[in-house]
């Protein structure tokens, strides 16, 4: 049996659902992200695990114990708030000690544990500062230490990296992941940033409008999105309308150009309208021997993005983006040039709406 189980969770406010039929099993030590746009119910689900909301229906069990109705202060679940929620009247050390203090631990235990936690987040010199004297990144680390000090069963992180500089975000997220691995703690991480979710998680739960769209490893979610929503939300994507030519062989018609897909379109009929999706990095300039689809195109635009060069091409009447890795010897076509691009049949996705 899984360590943390959410089964059939729904949350209703007045007559609308914020979360519906949410079922998930999380193993001990696993790092799971809830990914979705704001309002998709990810934070509400997290708050139900913490006990700040109670589900309208469904159960939550932790280590075999049903905690659905237990109060938040009895759950021993650590939470990191989006606003850090550090107590302004306490120093860093006092903040970290708070959970132990209300548990009436002995002074020596508290002291030892606080020192351990503060060295874990490398804030030894700041232990006696107040939160308003710390930077945003330091405040996040303190809230992490405070949550970990009580040795929680599960660590919940509610968008803990929002409103930080890009550089600090990246370094802090690897720090969080490293600490989580080191302690072997089970963690749920809520974010709307797909790159963050992809980089940090063992598994990602993609949510939309209160429902789970897909659960899978970052690799699966990115490369094998099961729905149009997931494909669009995770990574960037080209979308185009096409028509089914031959369901059995996976042949499609895009503005009079033939395309082949590996997606299962057996259930479609010839002439059905479908939407196809292709990730920009799946295109490349023609490598005729190996690729399933070789397409004539016109170069429309070239954008230099640093590590990547994004080239907009027109295939038939549809514009596609293709991404190529930058290197100093790259020979770029000119706008207006006629070229051929290719992509494999696996790259052409036909997804449920």
């Amino acid at each position: 049996m899984a360590y943390l189980t959410l089964s059939g969770i729904s949350k209703q406010f007045s007559d609308s659902y914020v979360v519906k039929d949410f079922s998930l099993e999380i193993e001990k030590g696993e790092f799971v992200s809830f990914l979705g746009p704001s309002g998709c119910g990810k934070t509400t689900t997290l708050r139900m695990v913490a006990g700040f909301e109670s589900p309208t229906t469904g159960n939550i069990t932790l280590d075999g114990v049903d905690i659905t109705d237990s109060p938040p202060n009895k759950r021993n679940v650590g939470m990191i708030f989006q606003s850090y929620a550090l107590f302004p009247n306490m120093t860093v050390a006092q903040n970290v000690a708070f959970g132990l203090r209300v548990r009436r631990e002995t002074a020596s235990n508290i002291k030892q544990r606080v020192e351990e936690m503060i060295s874990l987040i490398h804030l030894e010199e700041h232990a006696h500062k107040f939160p308003y004297q710390l930077s945003g990144g330091q405040q996040r680390r303190v809230s992490l230490a405070r949550a970990l000090a009580i040795q929680p069963h599960v660590l919940l992180l509610d968008e803990p990296l929002s409103a930080l500089d890009a550089k600090i975000r990246v370094s802090l997220r690897s720090e969080i992941r490293a600490i989580q691995r080191k302690l072997g703690i089970t963690a749920i991480f809520v974010t709307h940033d797909q790159e963050e979710a992809l980089s940090i998680s063992d598994r990602i739960v993609v949510m939309n409008a209160g429902l789970i769209e897909q659960v899978g490893t970052p690799f699966e979610v990115y490369n094998f999105p099961q729905t149009q929503f997931v494909a669009n939300f995770v990574g960037s994507l080209n979308n185009a309308a096409a028509e089914v030519l031959d369901p059995a062989r996976g042949l499609l018609n895009l503005d009079g150009i033939q395309l082949i897909t590996a997606s299962d379109i057996q259930s479609k009929k010839k002439g059905d309208k479908v939407r196809i999706s292709v990730r920009p990095e799946r295109f490349s300039f023609a490598d005729v021997q190996r690729k399933d689809n070789v397409l004539d195109c016109t170069i429309e635009n070239i954008t230099f993005l640093g590590s990547v060069v994004r080239i907009q091409v027109k295939i038939g009447n549809t514009k596609f983006n293709m991404d190529t890795f930058n290197n100093p010897f790259l020979e770029l076509p000119k706008i207006g040039d006629r070229e051929q691009v290719s992509c494999s049949k696996e790259a052409v996705l036909v997804l449920d709406e």
Binding site: A50, G51, F52, P71, P72, N73, K74, R75, N76, V77, G78, M79, F81, S83, A85, L86, F87, P88, N89, F98, G99, R101, V102, R103, Y132, S143, R146, A147, I150
Partner: protein, 302 residues
Amino acid sequence: MGTVNTKPKSTNETEGGAKRPPRSQIGSWLGVLPFFVFSGLFLIGPTLVLAYRSLEADGGGFTLGNYRQLVNETVINSYAMSIRISLTTAILGGIIGFLIAWAVSIGGLSRPFRTITTTFSGVASNFAGVPLASAFVFTLGRVGAITALFKLLGFDLYDSGFTLYSFFGLTLVYLYFQIPLMVLVILPAVDGLKRDWREAAENLGATSFQYWRYVALPVLMPSILGTMILLFGNSFGAHATAYALTGGLFTLATLLIGQQISGDVLNNPGLGYAVAMGMVIIMGVSILIYSVLQRRSERWLR
């Protein structure tokens, strides 16, 4: 200061000539001049006159004698009564006002009750002086409605020793503007308590009591204490309400000064000035402590 002068204004500077101060800067000083003149004439000047006279010996020259004479039964008694009433109304008003602010902010009363409370507080904190005194005379005076009601129930308030014209009565009246002032000043601080703090405390295992004991009250304490000191000053300097209620004959520092203005009741003008300056000093100190505490609380509640 020179933000407006960043554009090159070569016309102002003749070659090799001395730099004139930019015209706009003189204009700015003219803009604030009336403020300083007015404050000087009507706030600072009168106070300085009192300060000067309080330090002036009878035949001219400097003396501290007037301040030494403050240790005088009449003066001590009125100061003591003023301080007693101010302390009592500050503490009571502070506690009750805080409870009301809690009730309308996070206690669970619905929005309209909050609006009613803040608007009413705005009115009641300004409803001092004669009308307030009258209202209490009609309620708890000898023939007041509540007094009459008690009489009907067979209990004579005034026979039992109660009178509106006493420490207790004045306290009851002062609370009518002290409590609302507390509500108005403390409400933003109570609103400033973040929900996340409560949840973080619960999440870390704290009970509701522990949250208030270790987080909420300590966070609010500078505001609460500071506002109580503000209330202290507010009551300490109050004159009109006490005057209207007692005809100016009660033992109270402000009333003593009033009597000193009308006729030298202390038989020593210099002492009168010292009594007045003593009030200014006490008020100044309390406002100072108030602003220090308020600044600290703003840093926390930002």
